[in-house]
């Protein structure tokens, strides 16, 4: 599998560290209740199909990226910088 880093271009999977579902960007408020934190830390949709997940380009530019890909076919549809994805989510 090769992932398209928005900064470096397409790179081998070996260059990236996998964090998990991009849900990791939506950190709850520190005072949120345990159900919300459970949702964030543990519970997953875990789709068989299209997903968005978070990767760190550790052996490259050091950017966190959100990859849009398919968990069954391993087809990769695209990637954005996590900071842009965050900004977009914040804007609604």
């Amino acid at each position: 599998m090769r992932l398209p880093c928005p900064i470096c271009g397409e790179r081998d999977r070996r260059e990236f560290y996998y964090k998990g579902h991009a849900l990791a960007l939506n950190r709850p408020d520190p005072d949120a209740d345990d159900a919300e934190w459970d949702d964030y830390v543990h519970l997953r949709d875990n789709p068989a199909g299209r997903t968005r997940d978070l990767w760190y380009h550790s052996a490259g530019c050091g950017a966190w990226i959100v990859v849009d890909r398919d968990t069954v076919t391993h087809e990769v549809f695209g990637a954005t910088l996590a900071e842009d994805a965050e900004a977009r989510d914040a804007a609604g």
Partner: protein
């Protein structure tokens, strides 16, 4: 039909024409007392123990493919009881005891081979940790031996003892550990369940869970709706999809685990050997192939085939541990979908939906658990109380943070196990 030496002799002399199918293949009834979703090792053993231990025989096992076609038929068959943490350790201890009586119990040759498993250590710290683990295992009544480097060298001379990064300091041996024939375990439980009245329904995919007023009433399947007052999902890598049908999200992420086998060789590896540098383990099958594997592919996947970086890593680990393996040719590799939990330990629990139960999160270690898991889930479903051996496998331990069982000590997070 019972297996016996006499019967095998007789069949051998009469052209093996007298063997019949091992289980019935009935049409699904419209209603059962209990439905088990998933005909893998855990689903079949659950059905067997429901019937055998609790007399609950109006049971259907619904399998979307064929019995034993999932991970139970794809794994590397290591069986052991050398877990460390309270909660896990008593469960695997119980499961290994069930393994030891399984062939007599099922009248089926599951080819349990207690050849011993050796976990190698490569530093003083790792040796201390193994000594502590070994003591804990012995304290609970199981077996463990701490082997010195000299002892390892005597028994397994072909390892690379003086590797600069991973020199061998010794190892922790469990003699009662070993391997078993994966298909036979599934078939043996299937036959035992079927003989006691359980309906095994293949080619029957569950597509919906019927819930009325917070209570399960049955399932929708590709072979029509089937009603039941109690339903358990026992679907390993597909746990999240089936739970979603019941409106639940689980603390599970599915990833691929690969395995490899070489061409058949003369007997050379007598035990199961685990390299202590991370995840790499190897044993030799009865056919002579070296069966080995390593870590999961480390990202969410349902591809049921592995990626190249992990193949490379596993081969490197093999060459580091035993350079002699470079002479062998790899015949095949394959992958299975693992239901990974954040702490790496499983779940056997009531779901919170009346009558609906969850057995999941076996990660890469659920084959050794097949007897113990079915035993415990059957107990829970029949009595409403968790079995002592599996009382710690609670679903709510993630939300509450109490009772997490992180054997590796890396943290209870999805990407760390």
């Amino acid at each position: 039909m019972r297996f016996s030496a006499l019967r095998i002799l007789k069949e051998g002399l009469t052209g093996n024409a007298g063997w019949g199918p091992h289980w019935r293949s009935p049409e699904p009834k419209r209603e059962y007392d209990v439905i088990i979703i998933g005909g893998g090792g855990h689903g079949l053993s659950t059905a067997y123990y429901l019937a055998k231990n609790h007399g609950i025989t109006n049971v259907a096992v619904l399998e979307r493919g064929y019995l034993g076609g999932g991970n139970v038929g794809r794994n590397t068959t290591i069986v052991r009881a050398n877990y460390f943490l309270e909660g896990n350790s008593q469960f695997y201890s119980h499961s290994l005891k069930l393994w030891e009586g399984l062939e007599q119990d099922l009248n089926y040759n599951v080819m349990l081979s207690q050849r011993g498993q050796l976990m190698l250590c490569h530093s003083d710290g790792q040796r201390d940790a193994y000594a502590r683990r070994g003591n804990a295992i012995v304290n609970q009544g199981d077996d463990a031996e701490l082997w010195s480097a000299e002892k390892v060298r005597e028994e397994i001379p072909y390892l690379d003892f003086d590797n600069t990064r991973f020199p061998i300091y010794g190892g922790l041996m469990q003699r009662r550990a070993g391997s078993a024939r994966h298909d036979a375990v599934a078939w043996g439980y299937a036959r035992g369940a079927s003989d006691r009245g359980v309906d095994l329904i293949q080619q029957c995919e569950v597509t919906g869970i019927d819930i009325e007023n917070g209570r399960v009433t049955g399932v929708q399947t590709t072979r029509g709706p089937i009603r039941a007052g109690k339903v358990a999902q026992v679907v390993a890598g597909r746990s999240s999809q089936v739970a979603a049908m019941a409106g639940m999200r689980l603390p599970i992420e599915s990833t691929v685990l690969q395995a490899f086998v070489t061409e058949g060789l003369k007997p050379c590896i007598d035990h199961v050997i685990s390299f202590g540098m991370g995840h790499f383990y190897i044993s030799q099958s009865d056919k002579g192939g070296l069966v080995f594997g390593g870590d999961i592919d480390f990202y969410a996947s349902y591809a049921q085939r592995g990626n190249l970086p992990m193949k490379e890593h596993v081969m490197e680990a093999a060459m580091t541990l035993m350079p002699v393996i470079g002479k062998a040719r790899v015949l095949r590799s394959w992958g299975g979908i693992m239901d990974m939990t954040p702490d790496g330990s499983p779940i056997i629990d009531h779901s919170g939906i009346e009558g609906y139960y969850i057995n999941a999160g076996w990660c890469y270690g659920g084959f050794k658990a097949v007897p113990g898991s079915g035993y415990a889930l059957a107990h829970l479903m029949a009595t409403g109380q968790p079995h002592d051996s599996a009382a710690a496998f609670r679903l709510d331990r993630f939300r509450t943070g109490r009772g997490l069982m992180d054997e590796e000590g890396t943290g209870a997070q999805h990407n760390l196990h």
